[in-house]
């Protein structure tokens, strides 16, 4: 026994006397969240460095005789001449289920006052996106609960769908609605005990937003019971630009954990315009050459490497991305919007005019597109809403011409009447997503002309009445639509009977 102990002691002695090699440098200047460091001759790009006060930084600029680092944390403790050392590690954030229901900063530290997070794993913030071999095409739907989107611009699991529009047009609301809808679907799915059910976990990344807005979003999620399936990564406007730059990548790392472990996740980047501005600020301080609109040359790569990390993996899970871009005066041809439009698999364009007319969500059908198309729709939605986009586009064209004269033929009048009702039908209040089975039922009614005799001004009330009718009295029928996901003759007959019943009750 004593020899065994001696062996262990020898091993300890060997280890404890081993010299540890560190590569060090000295701070030459610190300004605006960026430190210029002399030395660090062995530092690697994007490597985490340790400052003497405990703060950490990331090496972003490797020059001939100095290194430019963004400092994460308290910069006020740093001064010229302080020692900095390399760590040999990339910046990592905690990942896993322990983060669900929590709000964290860009480094994964809790900011919600609910105590420490018991995460056992961590993922690097920067990671190479999955290659083409491991990917699978997008074919499973991700329901937003917004009728206009699910029926005309469907989103699939693993897709990147941009939400773009001016300020105050309801971009964040669409994202929050989608998160709430995932939580509702998760609750129903998990309660059903279906082994094939795949819940979707959500990550909401707030970049450059007011703290009050983030708190409001958290409250909305909590009120809807969606917070338990969500993670909030907050890098508010008051945070330093380095944290705002990192937050989307941290969120992506958290989402990747779900994807890699066979689960589905949804990530919302709110918003990438402010993310690009934070990166521009860092780049200008690092004295990188500036290009169009003073953005650095690699601003496209900034977003492409982030959004490429969203994918559907073969044999694993998926990560769906909903990046948000804020336009100025509806200018979609600006630098950052065109970049992100070209990276994503489609966009939902929100128009200020529509919003002001009371059409909410203010989705512009003409400018919005989903490049995945009907591959990400269930058959039932295709059956009832396959022609909706065309009908609505035709309506907008006819409505423009109809303004010039009143002599219209019966067919055109009918098209205009139908179009006006579709527009009314798609109006939806904030934070109240509609389950897909209910959407199918309502669109079935629209297709069968149930709303045609109703006055346009009463369509919203009628649609609400129909929703109430189906949810309170036709729950088994809705369940059947949800489970079958397609309308057969039997189901169509049942739906028709239910419609007749509703018509009688609504008229009465």
């Amino acid at each position: 026994m004593s020899t065994v102990l001696e062996q262990i002691e020898q091993q300890i002695a060997k280890l404890s006397s081993k010299a540890i090699k560190k590569n060090t440098g000295i701070i030459r200047t610190v300004a605006d969240g960026v430190a210029k460091i002399e030395g660090l001759s062995e530092v690697m790009y994007n490597e985490m460095v340790q400052f003497s006060g405990g703060a950490i930084g990331i090496a972003l600029n490797l020059e001939e005789d100095e290194v430019g680092c963004v400092v994460l944390g308290d910069i006020s403790q740093l001064k010229e001449g302080d020692e900095v050392q390399t760590t040999g590690r990339l910046l990592s954030v905690p990942v896993g289920r322990a983060l669900l229901g929590r709000a964290v900063d860009a480094l994964g530290n809790p900011v919600d006052g609910k105590g420490p997070i018991a995460a056992t794993e961590s993922y690097p913030v920067e990671k190479i996106a999955p290659g083409i071999i491991v990917r699978k095409s997008v074919s499973q739907p991700l329901f937003t609960g917004i009728m206009a989107i699910d029926s005309m611009i469907p989103i699939g699991r693993g897709q990147r769908e941009l939400i773009i529009g001016d300020r105050g047009t309801g971009k964040t609301t669409i994202a929050i609605d989608t998160i709430i809808n995932q939580a509702k679907i998760n609750k129903v799915g998990l309660a059903s005990g279906d082994k094939n059910f795949r819940p979707v976990y959500s990550i909401y990344v707030a970049v450059g937003q007011k703290n009050s807005n983030i708190v409001r979003t958290m409250a909305a999620l909590e009120a809807a019971g969606a917070l338990e399936y969500s993670i909030i990564v907050a890098a508010p406007a008051a945070d330093n630009p380095a944290n705002q730059y990192l937050a989307p990548y941290s969120g992506a790392a958290m989402g990747e954990w779900f994807m890699e472990n066979g689960m589905d996740a949804l990530i919302v980047y709110d918003d990438l315009s402010k993310h690009a501005v934070a990166y521009r600020q860092i780049s200008l301080i690092l004295k990188r050459p500036s290009g169009r609109e003073a953005y650095p040359g690699d601003v496209f790569y900034l977003h492409s490497r982030l959004l490429e990390r969203s994918a559907r993996l073969d044999g694993k899970g998926s990560l769906t991305a909903l990046p948000i871009i804020e336009t100025l005066a509806g200018d979609v041809s600006a630098y950052i919007p065109t970049n992100v439009i070209s990276i994503t698999d489609g966009q939902i364009f929100l128009e200020t005019d529509l919003f002001n007319q009371g059409i909410r969500p203010a989705v512009s059908v003409g400018l919005s597109v989903s490049r995945v198309g009907s591959a990400a729709q269930i058959k039932a939605t295709k059956q009832v809403g396959g022609k909706l986009k065309g009908e609505l586009a035709q309506f907008r064209e006819l409505a423009a011409f109809a303004q010039f004269g009143s002599d219209l033929d019966a067919k055109t009048k009918a098209q205009l009447e139908r179009g006006a009702r579709i527009v009314e039908l798609f109006k939806q209040p904030a934070f109240s997503p509609v389950p897909i089975e209910l959407q199918v039922a309502i669109l079935f009614g629209m297709q069968k002309g149930v709303f045609d005799p109703i006055d346009v001004r009463k369509v919203v009330v009628a649609a609400q009445s129909m929703k109430d009718f189906f949810t309170t009295r036709k729950d088994p029928l809705l369940t059947e639509i949800r489970t079958k996901a397609a309308l057969d003759k039997d189901l169509e007959a049942k739906l028709q009977t239910a419609m007749d019943e509703w018509k009688a009750s609504f008229a009465g």
Partner: protein
């Protein structure tokens, strides 16, 4: 302003290259460079000299192992450290001893940017960081 700084740095780099003989800083060459600066007085002389000094100091540090110690240190140990570092860095490295009581016990060797930590205070610091 920025371009003046850049020019000063470029000139300092050129002068630094002229100061090397077989990859090591040569005292006669440095003296020659200083004489040249004295005679020609390039634009932004102070900035040029500061950059030049920094480059030379970094190069000198790469050829010198500063051995910090808390207890006594023998000449043999210094010589063996110098020999080891010469082999490791494949260049001539000399060693100098510097007393540092803050280490408590053990050694800390610094060669250029690299620090080899084998002191009690260093181990305590890493233990504190781990906890």
């Amino acid at each position: 302003m920025a371009s003046a700084k850049k020019q000063a740095l470029q000139l300092a780099r050129q002068l630094f290259k002229l100061s090397l003989v077989d990859g090591n800083v040569s005292a006669p060459q440095v003296a020659g460079v200083l004489e040249y600066i004295e005679r020609h007085r390039p634009a932004n002389t102070l900035a040029v000299l500061k950059c030049y000094q920094r480059l030379v100091a970094a190069e000198v540090a790469r050829g010198q192992a500063v051995v910090e110690h808390a207890g006594p240190i023998g000449a043999n140990l210094l010589a063996s450290i110098a020999e080891g570092m010469t082999q490791k860095y494949r260049r001539n490295v000399t060693s100098v001893a510097r007393r540092n009581d803050a280490l408590l016990a053990g050694l800390r060797v610094r060669v250029g940017d690299d620090v080899y930590e084998s002191s009690v205070s260093g181990q305590l610091a890493s233990l504190a960081a781990a906890v």
